[in-house]
Amino acid sequence: MKKPLPFGGGVGVGYCRMKQILYYFLVLATLLSCEKGSSSADSISPGSGTGGSTARFTVANNALYVVTNTSLQAYDITRSGNPRIGSKTNIGVGVETIFPYRNNLFIGTQTAMYIFDLGIPDQPRRLSVYNHFQSCDPVVAQGNYAYVTLRGGTNCRNTSLNTLDVIDISNLSKPQVIASYPMKNPHGLGIDGTVLFVTEGDFGLRVLDVTNPLLIKQTQFFQDIKAYDVIPTQKRLIVTGPDGIYQYSYADPTKLQLLSKLTVEP
């Protein structure tokens, strides 16, 4: 992008120049869109922030999305100070989490992962459903894959199932599970590039290398902290848990460094 292309000679220099400019523009556009696709926050609205995987509120483009126990409610926030009610979509029972990615919403419920299209921001359109066993299941997505953690236990229908599922979403209308990994008690998760963070509740925090989603490798497992959810942003990981808020640097994703802890006060 920074190197100038060889100048095209011959007749019609002006036309060639124009073509060059167009070409530069296309390259730039492609680079920008790629960059966006691989960033951790990947917030599609420049004015919005980033939440964790267990969020039930999210902002994407000019809309606020809220999941209640049974439905997805959209609000038009073109004027951010004046939210206006949009469409409501019934989803079923046990709706738990909402995650925006590109022009889609990924919704985790106790029985399935739903993918919605946001072509019309205040009228989300259901594209597909990936059904799974009953459990608690936040979801994050990046590139062609969605990552879903399924947790059993008292709050989650007493199944003993605890896994990390990888779902191929290259065709958003036909999500397909391609791998499943055993976990202990996964609560939330976050992804940045090839690094996936999974919070294991009382069992700790896992750092995983997902370069090959079919062969995920664990690079670190912090068992001395309690972790409920994470936000990876700008090579800094924010972890929330019952004991406080931890911040790590993952400039080297194989060796996280604790930067600070906001401790819960008795």
């Binding site: 919005s48 939440g51 969020a55 926030i77 100070g81 911040q247 600070s260």
Partner: protein, 177 residues
């Protein structure tokens, strides 16, 4: 799944008829955990105000916006933290929002649940947060705890809005799920 859906519908009907939420399997034994509802008086439910920094007691959801880190204090509000230096995060203020658990931001507007409402708050100055819009009665009250296979004190709607459930010994835990 069909069976579960239909049983849920049936339990929903039972709940409506009795005021209790019954889960179809056998009731938990006497050693099951018990919960009691924590009420928010109707008069206090809509009081949103900015306070000085408050102790972190029960952290919930987190949210990052530019150099700010926002931390939900379960059922109570949001800590606003200056996170320019992640090695030294500094609590700036606490936005007291009764019943709050969720948050999201666009521009300088914070959207949060306030008991049964959604509020839009201008947080341009985190030490002086102002209410810009309230969407009333967006949510239904929570009639039962999240946990399953437990007993709990049946909620009394006259006492206020149930904002959370406390795991504790309960004298009369007549409801269960």
């Amino acid at each position: 799944m069909t069976i579960r859906t239909s049983t849920l519908v049936a339990t929903g009907l039972l709940a409506a008829l009795t005021g209790c939420y019954y889960y179809v399997p056998d009731p938990p034994n006497s050693k099951a955990d018990t919960y009691r509802p924590v009420y928010l008086a109707f008069a206090d439910a809509r009081l949103v105000q900015t306070l000085g920094p408050q102790p972190l007691k029960m952290p919930g959801k987190i949210y990052v916006k530019d150099n700010f880190l926002l931390i939900n204090e379960v059922g109570r509000g949001i800590h606003v933290v200056d996170n320019r230096d992640p090695a030294k995060p500094v609590k700036l203020s606490f936005i007291s929002i009764p019943g709050n658990r969720e948050l999201a931001i666009k521009d300088s507007i914070l959207y949060a649940d306030n008991a049964l409402d959604i509020v839009a708050l201008n947080i341009a100055d985190p030490r002086n947060v102002t209410l810009v819009k309230r969407l009333e009665n967006t949510f239904s009250p929570t009639d039962f705890p999240d946990a399953r296979n437990i007993r709990f004190e049946c909620p009394d709607p006259d006492k206020g809005i149930v904002i959370r459930w406390e795991k504790t010994a309960v004298a009369q835990a007549d409801c269960y799920r």
